[in-house]
């Protein structure tokens, strides 16, 4: 491999134009111009939101991107004049519970589906996936009545049970795809040594499946932050309200009168998520491609 590469390079050099020919410089200018313009397009809404949150006024009309006398008053107001801290705590609580429950349920289910044989498995798997397509919020009425029967309306537990249960089929599929790649000989060896299924899973599979489990944990942690449909349905009182519902109401509710406060609230939500995301970026990309075509 190495040899052929070197040889080809040697052959190629005369064919190439000299470095820094005018054509190449123009190309480079274009490339960098585009990179910079695109960075501006990406960063513009972010900077605008940050700028707006520092504006002294309240409305969208009077706010500017770079305020003359920036102030943190809206951040202060979030904590003194609105229920923002309650929303934040509620959301954190739901996200955290959902993360733990989803990871446990899904990884175990995926393990069994990846390692055990039983009748009708393939058919069940396909059926699950096709049924998953059904738009989830159309199940609103049914879920509502179901939670009512179980006395779980207006509780965070009810919401989490629903989230964690409803994500099992779809996520199991992704995790199973990853587990299938881990050689079976490893767990068979453990079983020969007398390990139970449970130990095999926790001691052998989990360490090897770390990337996909991190992916699963992250997606189930961030999911509840932005779902307002079910949260609006299930959580009825102000003390149970979450960020998604609270922030949405700030913008769509009373004609943008609380615009700058919304901006501040949005920033405080985005920061932790972006930080988490940056740290485990590589797991996410691995997770995304776990379901890809077999090469």
């Amino acid at each position: 491999m190495m040899f052929s590469k070197v040889e080809k390079k040697g052959l190629n050099t005369p064919l190439h134009k000299k470095k820094n020919s005018p054509k190449k410089i123009i190309l480079k200018v274009f490339l960098y111009a585009f990179l910079i313009i695109h960075s501006i397009v990406v960063l513009f809404p972010v900077i605008w939101t940050i700028g707006s949150s520092l504006n002294p006024g309240d409305s969208l009309y009077s706010s500017t991107m770079f305020p003359k006398n920036p102030t943190f008053i809206h951040y202060k107001e979030l904590f003194t004049k609105t229920d923002y801290p309650i929303w934040y705590m509620n959301t954190l609580k739901i996200a955290f519970m959902n993360m733990i429950l989803s990871v446990i349920l899904t990884s175990f289910t995926a393990y069994v589906l990846s390692r055990f044989k039983f009748k009708g498995k393939k058919l069940t798997l396909t059926a699950i996936l096709v049924l998953q397509v059904f738009p989830s919020f159309l199940t609103l009425t049914a879920i509502y009545v179901l939670l009512m029967q179980l006395n779980l309306l207006n509780t965070h537990i009810g919401l989490v049970l629903f989230y964690a249960g409803a994500q099992i089929p779809g996520n199991t599929w992704i995790v199973k795809g990853y587990l299938d790649q881990i050689p079976r000989s490893l767990d068979e060896a453990a079983r020969v040594d007398g390990a139970s299924n449970f130990t095999t899973f926790t001691k052998i599979i989990v360490p090897l499946a770390k990337p996909i489990i991190v992916f699963l944990a992250l997606t189930s942690f961030t999911g509840p932050w932005m779902d307002f449909i079910f949260q609006r349905l299930v959580l009825r009182t102000a003390d149970k309200k979450t960020l998604a519902v609270g922030l949405l109401e700030m913008v769509t509710g009373q004609a943008n009168t609380k615009f700058t406060t919304f901006a501040a609230g949005a920033i405080l939500v985005a920061i932790p998520i972006v930080i988490i995301f940056t740290f485990i970026q590589k797991y996410i990309i691995e997770g995304l491609s776990a379901g890809a075509v077999k090469s």
Binding site: K5, K9, N12, L15, L27, L31, F34, L35, H38, V42, P45, V46, W48, T49, L60, L105, T109, Y111, L113, K117, K121, L125, T126, L129, L131, V133, F134, P135, F137, L138, T139, T141, A142, Q149, A164, G165, A166, I168, P169, K176, S196, N197, M226, F228, L247, L248, V251, T252, N256, A266, I273, V274, F277, Q281, I285, L288, S289, G291, A292, V293
Partner: protein, 423 residues
């Protein structure tokens, strides 16, 4: 042989008897308890089935100042839950007989520790929550929605608890296709939904590919720096970005401020149908391209350099190399993601709801605006207008359109292919 029949008969007579005869006491008692509970609840089951069949008979009225009524929708759901539970019971009943037979022959029972027993049951214990949630959180709501499509459950005259709901057969389907205002809305919305799903997927796919190639090209330094900036829209919670965009493009928003400063008139971004549609596609590009960029970066780096170098020797242009090497290879490994992305955009409710809310209003449509997708139309019918019957019909239509695509895609994924190796 004789014993086998005897145990099976015992278990058929009353769940668990066969197991006890086989000296499996714990299992036997568990089965017996299940049957006992089921028997006690027979009146409840019958009532639930009656409810499902009639959807209630007592209209809302007051008796001595107290409201008396049948709630059709609750009855329907209770009926459905009962049907599912009955199916579960039948399954357990059959399993109980099979289990009795299988254990009849093993007369010499090895003493197994509880620990080993639990280990043997491991797959079943683990799969139970998944199966239950599949049944009650996915299957039950789906059957419920399908059933509602055959009722007149809607405001203002058939809304419980004030009124009863009735079964109406295929009336709703007929109305949707035959009644002008419904069929115009349906046709218009389907057309825009498909156009939208196609445009949204196409632009973000090639946008992502372009970004990935740009960063990957030899001329660009600081690759990691650019990549971390470009991935940002994927990391920021989607709803937040969408709401911010909505404000940016609104009448008094910053985009119009800039346009005015340059010397052009302000533009109605979100109140003009065509503009609103363009803005939606652009916002989706901003949100969606990073996902494909992240995906393709690893694919691009995996394409062997040799391919490009031999193409260079053959005197291929950059154009040629893109269409004959890069695109086919990338396309091959991302094909399922394209289809999934199409299905996702087809039902991209969040974006439409957060940015335009389906607006601007279209007077020719019933309960839908110019930019409403099928899914957001359903949302409006359900939550704003309480036209549950029509919403359910449209839901079934969406399902029929999207399910085959998804099923087809998934049979081609790694997860599914691997199955072939096992069976």
């Amino acid at each position: 042989m004789e014993k086998k029949k005897k145990t099976m008969l015992l278990s058929a007579l009353f769940m668990g008897l066969g197991q006890i005869y086989n000296k499996q006491y714990t299992k036997g008692i568990a089965f017996m308890l299940i049957e006992l509970i089921a028997l006690i609840n027979i009146p409840k089951f019958l009532k639930a089935l009656w409810g499902l069949y009639t959807l209630g008979e007592v209209k809302f009225h007051y008796v001595n100042g107290k409201a008396v009524f049948d709630h059709s929708i609750f009855l329907m759901l209770q009926g459905l839950i009962s049907v599912l539970l009955l199916l579960l019971l039948i399954f357990l009943y059959v399993y109980n007989i099979k289990d009795a037979r299988d254990n009849a022959e093993k007369i010499e029972h090895k003493k197994i520790s509880i620990h080993d027993k639990i280990d043997k049951m491991f797959p079943f214990i683990v799969l139970t929550p998944g199966l239950l949630s599949l049944m009650f959180l996915i299957l039950l709501p789906i059957i419920f929605t399908v059933l509602v499509a055959f009722t007149n459950f809607s405001a203002p005259y058939h809304l419980p608890p004030r009124n009863l709901v009735d079964w109406v057969g295929f009336e709703n389907f007929k109305d949707l296709f035959k009644m002008d205002i419904w069929s115009t809305t349906l046709k218009g919305t389907i057309k825009w939904t498909i156009t939208w799903a196609f445009l949204a997927t196409f632009t973000s796919y090639f946008g992502g590919l372009f970004l990935a190639m740009l960063i990957n090209s030899a001329e660009v330094k600081l690759k990691k720096f650019w990549r971390s900036i470009f991935i940002l829209p994927y990391a920021i919670p989607g709803l937040i970005s969408m709401l911010v965009m909505r404000l940016m493009f609104s009448g008094p928003g910053i985009i119009n401020d800039i346009i005015e400063r340059i010397g052009f008139p302000r533009i109605d971004w979100l109140t003009e149908p065509i503009n609103a549609k363009i803005v939606l596609v652009l916002i989706n590009l901003w949100l969606g391209a990073p996902y494909f960029m992240a995906l393709m970066t690893s694919i691009l780096t995996n394409i062997s350099r040799d391919l490009y170098e031999s193409a260079d020797i053959d005197g291929a242009t950059g154009f040629h190399k893109f269409f004959h090497i890069t695109l086919p290879l990338v396309f091959y490994s991302t094909a399922p993601m394209i289809i999934m992305s199409f299905a996702y955009n087809f039902n991209n409710f969040m974006l439409i709801y957060a940015v335009t809310d389906g607006g601007p209003v279209n007077p020719e449509y019933r309960y839908a605006g110019h930019t409403d997708l099928l899914i957001s139309w359903i949302y409006k019918m359900t939550l704003d207008q309480q036209q549950y019957h029509m919403a359910s019909v449209v839901t079934i239509l969406i399902f029929l359109m999207i399910a085959p695509i998804v099923a087809f895609t998934f049979t081609r994924t790694r997860s599914f292919k691997e199955e072939d190796l096992i069976q």
